[in-house]
Structures are given as structure tokens and as C-alpha cells.
């Protein structure tokens, strides 16, 4: 049952991604990417990552894609115009390279994680009992404290950088 729903959302995500890269209109591309992001959020729930699924909807679909749509509309790119998709030669090269990459990734995907590092059965179920927010937050403020603090510095740098770049005159 879960597997069926997982594949349904997976197909939705892949179809959204395909339509995202083939739509001529950037607004259409952005909206199909939102479909993909929502399907991914549903898949995260099935993979025992409820907190990450909520973040996916709030941060990706909610904030980042609104920023993209905002810039597309600000630059008035939604109007019909000549296509920006490359010609037959470009499509052929892209298909060849992407096909090679897909083959390589599929071969890598066959390898299961070694037994020595897999969790014992039922560990995830036990974590589910105390809630996934606590399960993610505990390592975040313990083993990953320094990366977490550096992330705040990165966001500060991004804010300053975006303001400096977007401002006409300081």
C-alpha cells in the first residue's frame, strides 16, 4: 500500500520535473517545480521524515519558489517570446549526457548500505514514538552544533550579499 502511494507520488514528481524543464514559459516551469516539491514532501512523510516534509512545504514550496516567481514577474519574463530551449544538436547532447548520468546513478543505486552501519530493526519506530522533531533537533544542537552556527553566519552573509547586489546605489 505504502509502496503504491510512494510510486504514485514518485511518478508525479518525475512528471513535474520533466514538464519543468520543457515548458517554454518560466512561470509554467516554476509552477511545475512546485508540483514536484509537494510530491517530494509527500514522499518524505512516507520515509519517516515528517519534520523535513513540513520544512519542504514551508521553505521550498513556500519561500524559495515564491522568490523565483517574484523575480520572474518582476523581470516580466512571463510574456510569450522566442523559446530559450536549444536546437536539435543541443537537445541531442543533453539527452546523451543525461542518459549516461542516469545509467551511472542507477548502477550506484543498486548498492545497499553495508550491514555494519544499518540501524537495528525498529529504531525508526522508536524514534517515531518521541516525534521526529525531537529526533532531528537533538543531533542538530549536539553533534552538529558548529555547522548549525555556521549556517546562521551563511544566512547573514546571504542577506548582506543580496541587499548589496540588488541595490542600485548604496
Amino acid at each position: 500500500m505504502t509502496l503504491t502511494f510512494f510510486w504514485i507520488f514518485g511518478v508525479i514528481a518525475m512528471a513535474g520535473g520533466l514538464l519543468c524543464i520543457t515548458r517554454r514559459n518560466p512561470v509554467g516551469s516554476a509552477l511545475w517545480l512546485v508540483v514536484t516539491l509537494f510530491a517530494l514532501a509527500a514522499m518524505y512523510v512516507m520515509l519517516d521524515a515528517q519534520f523535513i516534509a513540513a520544512l519542504q512545504v514551508l521553505v521550498y514550496a513556500g519561500a524559495i519558489m515564491v522568490l523565483f516567481l517574484f523575480v520572474i514577474m518582476l523581470l516580466n519574463l512571463g510574456r510569450p517570446g522566442p523559446t530559450d530551449i536549444k536546437g536539435p544538436v543541443g537537445v541531442g547532447i543533453a539527452a546523451l549526457l543525461a542518459g549516461t548520468l542516469l545509467l551511472q546513478l542507477r548502477v550506484l543505486g543498486q548498492a545497499a548500505p553495508p550491514e555494519a552501519i544499518t540501524l537495528p530493526e525498529g529504531t525508526m519506530a522508536a524514534l517515531q514514538q518521541q516525534g521526529m522533531v525531537a529526533a532531528v533537533a537533538n543531533p542538530l544542537f549536539d553533534a552538529y552544533l558548529i555547522p548549525f552556527e555556521i549556517t546562521s553566519l551563511l544566512l547573514l552573509a546571504a542577506i548582506v550579499g543580496a541587499v548589496v547586489l540588488a541595490k542600485r546605489k548604496l
Partner: protein
């Protein structure tokens, strides 16, 4: 287990992102394709976190923070380039060419 299907879907999504970057000339659409690739990697992290440990989900958190910062700075750069060249088509943006 969902690990196999998740890795397969993730591989397809990453490939679609790469194909989009190679296929398009619109800077904003290329940027969205990069986001698609980041999401494909996030799916791999979450799928493996189910088997190996919750550290994978912590990494997804960091990837999202970096993606948000990248989107803000990247779109500001695209805005600045648009103001300069009146286009976001990468064919016409070649000021670094010798």
C-alpha cells in the same frame, strides 16, 4: 522497504535537473533546475536516513539552508545582470568572454 524506489526516483530527478541545465538558456530556469538537483539529493539523504540514522535528515536541513541562501544571492545577481543587459538569456550574457 522504500529505499530502492527512492534511489531510482532520485536518480531520475537529478538527471532531469542536469538535462534542464544543459537544455535551457534562460538563467532563471537553469537556476530552478539546480534546485531540482538539490531536491533529488535531499530525497537520497532522507531515504538513507531511514536505514542508517537520523543524521541524514539533519543534512537535509543544512541543504535547505544553503539552498535558501543560494536562491537569495543568485536571484539578486540575475536582477543585477538584467539591469545591465536587459536580458536573462545566457547567449547574450558573454561579458567575461575575451
Amino acid at each position: 522497504m522504500l529505499l530502492g524506489p527512492a534511489l531510482a526516483i532520485s536518480a531520475v530527478l537529478f538527471t532531469l535537473g542536469v538535462a534542464g541545465v544543459l537544455l535551457r538558456r534562460n538563467a532563471i530556469v537553469i537556476f530552478m533546475c539546480v534546485e531540482l538537483m538539490l531536491n533529488a539529493v535531499n530525497l537520497t539523504f532522507v531515504a538513507l536516513a531511514q536505514r542508517i540514522g537520523v543524521g541524514g535528515q539533519v543534512f537535509v536541513f543544512f541543504v535547505m539552508a544553503v539552498a535558501a541562501a543560494e536562491a537569495a544571492v543568485g536571484l539578486a545577481i540575475i536582477l543585477a545582470v538584467y539591469r545591465h543587459k536587459q536580458t536573462v538569456n545566457l547567449q547574450n550574457i558573454n561579458i567575461l568572454k575575451g
